[in-house]
Structures are given as structure tokens and as C-alpha cells.
Amino acid sequence: MTMFNIDHINMNLNGNTQKEILSSLATLAKSQDIVSAEDTLVQDYLEREKESTTGFGNGVAIPHARTNNVKTTAILFGRSSSDIEWNSLDGKPVNTFISLLVPNDQGDTHLKLLAKLSRQLVHKDFVSILKNGTKEEVFTAINNVLEN
């Protein structure tokens, strides 16, 4: 039961709009048996975006969901070939996605790991790996956060 493995990464997410990208992430989640229903996850993502954008600037967004549709806590990572309009805080389009999925009744240990990861997202060097690193570099960087 790992929250993050190399199969959770898709360096070439399909889509040109926010909704299409979110659908691709949901497909990825479903293929890894992280969620029960793909459609529901897309809806949950969109609901969250409606509340306030998850694009926190620099071309990175963190679409996330915390619902019972999620079976196990997981992290997904993706990049898109085109720049996606995300209504970001800095107004810039987005091409890097890190998605946090949590079941409603998740216990402490995993939540603490996600908290650690979220904290890293405000550090420029970490974000720069997410934006520019290779698949392996991204995998190692995220795993380092989770394991240390």
C-alpha cells in the first residue's frame, strides 16, 4: 500500500482544457484502483476548483479531493504538453499537476505525509524539479519528501 509509485505519474496528460485534464487525472486514478468512480472524481475536482482555484502560481496546480469515492490515499503527478487555463493566482496557465486524493475517513499518518508534501510546494527548488525534472527526478523528489 504505497501512496505514490512510478505508475502514478503521467508525463503526457491528454487534454486542452481544465476539464479534460481533470478527466485524464481521473482516468489515471481509476486505472490504479485509487477511486471507485471516475466520473465522481471529475465532479469532485471541479467542485473544489469552483471553491477557489488550486493553481497556486508558476504553472503548477494541485487539484485535490477528499471524499469517500477515494479508496486509498494517493498522490498523482502529471504534465500536459499544452498550457492549460486554470484561473491561477498569478493568472498564468498551468502545465504541471500534482493531485492529492484522500478518503474522508483517512487516519493521521497519511495526512501528515500529505501535509509535508504540501509544505514543500512553496519551496522554489522543489517546484522547479516538478516543472522541469525528468519522470525519475520527479519520482525521487516526491518520494524523498514522503520518506524523510
Partner: protein
């Protein structure tokens, strides 16, 4: 050095709470500020700000995505606060610190506060009891006023038809019944919020249910529920029980279901059974002992008896002690002895009216919420019920119960001495006008004496109590 404290939270509690916390910490440190950030995320409150950190902080930053609870806000009363939505915080983080002074406003919280110049109590048993008080007050106010309206309607000749097969209930009965729910649920709400204040959500449900059980005489098969003293005992015991229960390590697979399944289930089972098989019978035993004690007071010692009955009536306001004294007096009506019930008519008016009057004479002995509730306590207390006095007693059990009991006792003795008689329950202070209590002049004299005593005792005892507490806190700090 500039000192900053901050609180972050967000709707899902998994990403922004921590990103913003980190961003604030980094930025503040880079500026050479001392900073403490409390995160309120999905796994609960972490790095909770201490009263000392808050007291010393120059500015408070609240980056909030799902609001703050009232008691949470109360911590920052009178502090310079910068509030912004958590979603905006990352955007503004670079400029946020440029003009903290200009962007801040002084937080004026209308929250539970002891006295005008006193620190908010954030820790210790008193703060737990205060959590119970502020949760219960709206129940008493709302419920009490409805009951008062219902009773007045009946006294002015409207029908009081209860729900029964084939008849539809009258509006007065419906209003009174809805109001009664306020009184009925006030007690379990107290127990639940006392426990919640100690150990958060896992304690809420078991404390609510067990206090409900302890206060429901039908379920327990006793003549009285445990009342507000029962709520204090149960709320505190379940609160502390859960606090230590939460620390148990069950291994990865079960740890996640500990707070919302295992703790509520086990706690409810244990305390439910304890309440049913220990507290219930213990109360029944206590009541029967007290009752036979009252019945055996020789008639020559009427004044002593009056004192004891009065003191018992005022002691726990609806709890077993009060109910025993009431039962003793009420059952004598059938043998046409009316003077003991006269004591009930006088003494049960005193605690709520006295508490209300005391808030008017010495407002700084009471919280803002207590002061705001005073009119309702006065109106409801003077007409239909003693319950409005309960939150005041819960907020400061020792001085308030002592004051009420002492005043109740002395007034009880005077009432029986003057032979005030009451023949049936009515609407409190207006009973003599309805011919239910006589002679009217002695009745009003007794009420007046009782109020003067009760109000004075409250002001003296609570004043001393608060002063002592203040000194203790000073020593601790």
C-alpha cells in the same frame, strides 16, 4: 523582534492549510520575525498556539478557508489581526508583511469572556465548563421563553390540550412542548460540549448520549435525572477518558478508525452501562435516603426543616436533590398540607432571578453571553422554571451553588415561619394574583428577602472566587 502568530485552514484541509503555513513561516523567518503557525487541517489542530504565544504576538495572521469557531476567535480578542482568505494568502505572501500595521484591525470578539478585563480562559476545567455554558445558554433562552409563552396562554384561559388519540393538541401545549425540548436537551448538550472541549470530536457523541441517559428518569427508572451536576461529572469523565484513549496505538490498520469508530463505541458502551447500573441506582438510593430524612424531621423543628428543604431546592436545580425536596413538598398537598409547597413557590424563583439581577449590578463578574441572557433568565425564572440559573451555576459552580443554597435555605426557613401556603403550580411570581399562593404580602416579602440575600451572596462569593482564580493564574504565569 516582531512576533507573529498565525492560523491556517482550508476546506479540504490537505493542501493549502500547509502550503500557506509553510509560506508564512518561511517569509517571516526571512524577515527575522519570530513566528508560530497553527494548522487546522484534516488531521486536526497541529502546533496549537499557546496563550503565551498569542499574548506575546504583535500581529495575528488568520489565513482562513473555512472560518473560525467562536471560541477560536475569542483567543485573539483585542489582538491586531490580519485576516485574508487562505486561497489569496499564497498570492499575497510577498507583500503581506509589508504593512501588517495598516492591514490589521483589532479583533473585538463578543465571545465567552470572564469579566470585562479578564483573560479568556483557554485551558483547565473552567474553560471546559464554559464551553458547556455557551453551548447550553441558547437552549435555555429559546426553550424557556417558549415555555413562558405557553404557560401564560394557559393562565389566560386558553386550552391546554395534550396530544392524544382523536384530539388535536392546543397551540399552548404545542408551544410548551417545543420549549420543553430546550430544557431537555440543554443538559446533554452541556455534557457533550464539556467533553468536546477536552478531547474534540470523538468524545462528543458518547458524552451527549450518556448525559441524555443520565438525565432521563424514564430510561433510568428513577424519580429524577442527574441534572447539570450529572452533566459536569459525565462530561469531564468522558472528556478525560477519551483524551487518554486517543493515545492508544493500535497499529496502522486500526489507527485510522480509532477516533470515529472505536472510541465512540467503547466509550458509549462503558459509560452507558456505568450510568445505567451505577449512577442510576446511586441516585435512587440517595433520593430515598434524603426523602426519609425529610419525612422524619420532627414537626417541632419546622424552621430547620424549612431551611433544609429550601437549601435542597436551590442546590442542583432540577437534579436529584432538588427533585427529592420538591417531591416531599408536593406529595404533602394531597394531605392538605400546603406550607411546604409554599417554600417551593418562593425558593425556586430565586436562583435565576438573582443571577439575572447580579449581572445587572455587577456586570464585570459575568461573561458577555451571561449578561445577554439575563433578561430571558429573569422573565423565565420569575414565571415558570429554575433552569435558566443552570448556565450561571455551571460557569462558576462553587460560588454560585453556595450562594443559591444558602439563600434558598434561609428563605425556606423564613417562608415556613410566616406560613406561606401554595396550593398548586402556577406562574411563579404571579401566583398570589391567581389565588394559588397566600398570604400575598408574606409571599412577596419572602421573595424580596430571598432575592436580596441571593444576589448579595452571588456578588460576594463570585467576587472572591474570581479574585482567587486571578491570583492563581498570575502565579502560574
Amino acid at each position: 523582534m516582531t512576533k507573529i502568530v498565525a492560523v491556517t485552514n482550508c476546506p479540504a484541509g490537505i493542501a493549502h492549510t500547509y502550503m500557506v503555513a509553510e509560506a508564512i513561516e518561511e517569509k517571516a523567518k526571512s524577515l527575522g520575525y519570530e513566528v508560530h503557525v497553527e494548522t487546522q487541517g484534516a488531521s486536526g489542530v497541529e502546533n496549537e498556539l499557546t496563550p503565551k504565544q498569542i499574548a506575546e504576538a504583535d500581529y495575528v495572521i488568520l489565513a482562513i478557508g473555512k472560518g473560525l469557531t467562536d471560541s477560536d476567535k475569542a483567543r485573539f480578542d483585542q489582538k491586531k489581526v490580519v485576516e485574508l482568505p487562505v486561497s489569496e494568502a499564497l498570492k499575497h505572501i510577498d507583500t503581506l508583511f509589508d504593512d501588517l500595521e495598516g492591514n490589521s484591525h483589532v479583533m473585538t470578539s463578543s465571545k465567552v469572556k470572564l469579566g470585562a478585563d479578564q483573560e479568556v480562559v483557554t485551558e483547565g476545567i473552567m474553560s471546559y465548563l464554559m464551553a458547556g455554558v455557551s453551548a447550553a445558554l441558547p437552549f435555555v433562552i429559546g426553550g424557556g421563553l417558549l415555555i413562558a409563552i405557553g404557560s401564560l396562554m394557559v393562565q389566560f384561559g386558553m386550552p391546554n390540550t395534550p396530544l392524544a388519540k382523536g384530539t388535536s393538541p392546543s397551540i399552548a401545549w404545542v408551544i410548551t412542548s417545543i420549549g420543553n425540548l430546550g430544557f431537555q436537551f440543554m443538559i446533554p448538550i452541556m455534557g457533550a460540549y464539556i467533553a468536546y472541549a477536552i478531547s474534540d470530536k470523538p468524545a462528543f457523541a458518547p458524552a451527549f448520549l450518556v448525559t441524555f441517559l443520565a438525565n432521563d428518569s424514564d430510561l433510568l427508572g428513577t424519580k429524577s435525572g442527574a441534572g447539570f451536576l450529572g452533566a459536569i461529572v459525565i462530561g469531564l469523565s468522558i472528556g478525560y477518558f477519551v483524551k487518554y484513549f486517543k493515545k492508544i496505538k493500535l497499529g496502522k490498520n486500526f489507527q485510522s478508525i480509532l477516533p470515529f469508530m472505536i472510541i465512540p463505541f467503547v466509550t458509549l458502551l462503558i459509560f452507558g452501562l456505568l450510568t445505567y447500573y451505577l449512577l442510576g441506582p446511586a441516585m435512587a438510593w440517595l433520593m430515598s435516603v434524603l426523602l426519609s430524612f425529610l419525612q422524619n424531621i420532627p414537626t417541632s423543628m419546622k424552621i430547620v426543616g424549612g431551611f433544609i428543604v429550601g437549601a435542597m431546592l436551590a442546590f442542583d436545580m432540577g437534579g436529584p436533590i432538588n427533585k427529592t425536596a420538591w417531591f416531599f413538598s408536593f406529595s404533602l398537598l394531597s394531605s392538605h398540607v400546603f406550607n411546604w409547597y409554599g417554600i417551593v413557590g418562593v425558593v425556586t424563583l430565586l436562583p435565576p432571578m438573582a443571577a439575572a439581577i447580579a449581572t445587572w449590578i455587577k456586570p464585570n463578574l459575568f461573561t458577555k453571553q451571561e449578561r445577554a441572557a439575563s433578561w430571558s433568565a429573569f422573565i423565565v425564572g420569575s414565571t415558570v422554571a429554575t433552569e435558566p440559573a443552570i448556565p450561571y451555576a455551571l460557569a462558576a459552580p462553587l460560588p454560585m451553588i453556595t450562594a443559591n443554597t444558602l439563600a434558598g435555605g434561609i428563605t425556606g426557613a423564613i417562608t415556613i415561619l410566616l406560613n406561606v401556603e401554595r396550593t398548586a403550580p402556577g406562574i411563579g411570581i404571579f401566583d398570589p394574583l391567581l389565588g394559588l399562593e397566600s398570604p400575598w404580602y408574606w409571599f412577596y416579602l419572602c421573595v424580596a428577602i430571598g432575592l436580596v440575600l441571593n444576589v448579595s451572596f452571588i456578588i460576594i462569593f463570585k467576587g472572591i472566587w474570581l479574585k482567587r482564580k486571578e491570583e492563581k493564574e498570575k502565579q502560574a504565569a
